[in-house]
Amino acid sequence: MDFSLSPEQETFRQTLRAWLKANIPREWKHVGSSEIPRVEAYELLKTWQRRLFDAGFIGLTWPKEYGGRGLTFMEELILQEEMALAKAPPILNVLGVGMAGPTIIAYGTEAQKKRHPAKILACEEIWCQGYSEPNAGSDLAALQTRAVKDGEHWVINGQKVWTSFAQVADWMMLLARTDPNAPKHKGITYFLLDMKLPGVTVKPLRQITGEAEFNEVFFDNVRVHESQVLGGVNNGWQAGITTLMYERLTLGFALQTRLRIALESLIELARRMEKHGRAVTKEPLLRQKLAQLWIDTECLRVTGARAITKLLRGEMPGPEASAGKMVWVETHQRLQELAMEIEGPYAQLWKGSAWAVEGGVWQHSFLRSRANSIEGGTTEIQKNIIAERVLGLPKD
């Protein structure tokens, strides 16, 4: 057991630290908890991701021939830690980098692997995820969007929902039913879908924050060439699950980074705010809550390190990785609730009020955090997965 870094890793850390210091955009002002790219920051974040790509600080674990660095998850962990320390802006193309890219590298044809991953890293292609439907959420395999073969093309009809980034995305990871007669997990195909194809309509959905950060996407006789199938016809479930595994792993590191940044901000907020005439940080109960958040955040880091050790030893990620998402969600939602508690009556004030604390940024992230336990697999589904696949409890 050893938490120290090798000399090479230490050099990597130092280089990265210096680079971040010099290259985080001046216009980026970190306020509150901004773990999700905000619509108004898209342009800035695009430039930022491009800068990371040019310097080789994104896609560290991806193979060199597909735009990555061919490094290990250890370097990825160092990267995430340094990003947290530097309070760096988040990655805009988070679904492309966290999900689409790794899945294409795992399942793609050579042409697909040459075509997409590097552009994903450079933020030249923004990706969204076409999984959930009005009648297929936690029961994803019940999806009904149809793809019917017509010559060299597949014709897509149906609807996706809760699709983040669809309004700006160039590409979609699309799961559609190609064999309605097969058992529900076996008739699904994974398509790489160009969002500019005729028949794709994106309608914004206004959400709890008042913004339209996610969307409905409609497919009306959209013709997708057969070369855009990923991982084989009717093999989409396998590829789709791989995507989710990567999501929980890579995205997990990134989310943990954002959690650390949010916690530091919350502590700064607590130092400035008063409650009943004394500093929030001197209130015994609030000290307890802040300390518990610190412990849980550290816990995610250390549990992540255990998962990486398994990966580096060539084992599959075990219960540590599956539990990570759940713990992150619970901790982050609790953090956001605590921000409201610390603000007290000020928590009621929204962006635009002169009295709003830090411009009302915590109100936004507080509301946004309710999605955490739903998106990327609900907490209830995560618990089923842990109970069935890790503990071996019987399926219903």
């Binding site: 050893d2 940080t281 300390a291 550290e298 250390v302 549990t303 618990k383 842990i386 069935e388 071996g392």
Partner: protein, 379 residues
């Protein structure tokens, strides 16, 4: 970086599990609960034979010179079978105090005997004020011609009734700070004015005593470490023992989860195994998450302590805060998911539930350690 156990550590785990499954059965544990000794001579000799009583002592004192990460592996296995007896008090409290504060001759006198299973020790630190900090030490040691006279009441002293030597924390002076003036003394069994009373405890696998000293005379050679300057050694002992305790708690919690999942697979209600129901599944998943997190923080603290990292104090408090809550929750959920049978004396679950409770309050509960975390991160 490698945050897993080595092959040697995995071997230690396998050996310990096999040994304890044979030697420390539920029947054995329950028999020890009923009698004051809490251990048999035969079992103690076998622990010595395995080399576990001296695992963390340097080789020159009859030990194996291993670290806290190695010890954590062993503690997890001991927690798994709610091992009774004075292992903790002898090896990690009395023994470590002698190692941390003692002179080489004092170490030579005691540690090889402790490691060989020929003597037992404990640490008499806490008092009726139930404080874990230096201000809690109010017992006094008065300078005399030929040594010191100790007076005071020590409470929650583990296994003092079995100890050949009790390391007693007492105040030789009122210092500028509470830490200043705390000294340690070696008090042998049967010393004049020393009275040891075994107290009935909720967790019968842990024997706690009241130790009273009334002008108990000890020679100057009984002073362990610098006069008035022993607190830093005490703090290190507490820190290391806390990490080891966390390891033991993780092992116990894991065993509760194992028992519970096994039961959920076979117990049928409404025509199906209860493990089929999400009401059961989700609780089991919560147990697993709590345990994995508890292990992560415990292993991290053990590593930090072995490295003498500046983060050790913080890592230790993070671990004890988390693990205290986790073991309590897990052992309670274990009973809930077992239903009525989990509430019986016959089932082993109550041993774990009670051990979780006694461990929770040993070296400070979650609230105490969260406040320490708050201080250490400069809140």
């Amino acid at each position: 970086m490698d945050f897993g156990f080595s092959q040697e550590q995995e071997m230690l785990r396998a050996t310990a599990r096999k040994f304890l499954e044979n030697e420390c059965t539920s029947t054995f544990v329950r028999a020890r609960m009923e009698e004051p000794a809490g251990v048999t001579d035969d079992f103690w000799a076998k622990l010595a034979e395995q080399g576990w009583l001296g695992l963390v002592y340097p080789e020159e004192y009859g030990g194996s010179g291993l670290g806290l990460v190695d010890l954590t592996v062993l503690m997890e296995e001991m927690g798994r079978c709610v091992m009774p007896g004075p292992f903790f008090s002898t090896v990690l409290l009395g023994g470590l105090a002698i190692l941390e504060a003692g002179s080489p001759p004092q170490r030579k006198e005691w540690l090889p005997r402790l490691a060989a299973g020929q003597a037992k020790a404990t640490l008499a630190l806490t008092e009726p004020n139930a404080r874990w900090d230096a201000a809690g030490v109010t017992a006094t040691a008065k300078d005399g011609k030929h040594g010191f006279a100790l007076s005071g009441t020590k409470l929650f002293v583990p296994d003092a009734h079995l100890a050949d030597v009790i390391v007693v924390a007492a105040r030789t002076a009122e210092g500028k700070s509470p830490e200043d003036g705390v000294s340690l003394f070696l008090v042998p069994k049967g010393a004049a004015g020393l009275e040891v009373k075994l107290l009935p405890t909720m967790d019968q696998t842990r024997k706690l005593c009241e130790v009273t000293l009334k002008d108990t005379p000890v020679p100057s050679g009984a002073l362990l470490g610098a006069k008035g300057g022993a607190w830093s050694a005490v703090a290190r002992v507490i820190q290391r023992a806390t990490i080891a305790l966390c390891g033991e708690m993780c092992g116990g919690a894991q065993r509760v989860l194992d028992m519970t999942t096994e039961y959920a697979k076979i117990r049928v209600a409404f025509g199906k195994p209860i493990g089929t129901y999400q009401g059961v599944k989700h609780k089991a998943a919560d147990m697993l998450v709590d345990i994995e997190n508890a292990k992560s923080l415990t292993y991290y603290a053990a590593w930090a302590a072995d490295e003498n990292s500046s983060e050790t104090a913080l890592a230790t408090s993070m671990a004890k805060a988390y693990v205290s809550d986790a073991y309590r929750k897990v052992s309670a959920t274990g009973i809930q998911l077992h239903g009525g049978i989990g509430f019986t004396w016959e089932h082993d679950l109550h041993l774990y539930f009670k051990r979780a409770k006694s461990s929770e309050f040993t070296f400070g509960d979650a609230t105490y350690h969260r406040e320490r975390v708050a201080q250490l991160i400069n809140l």
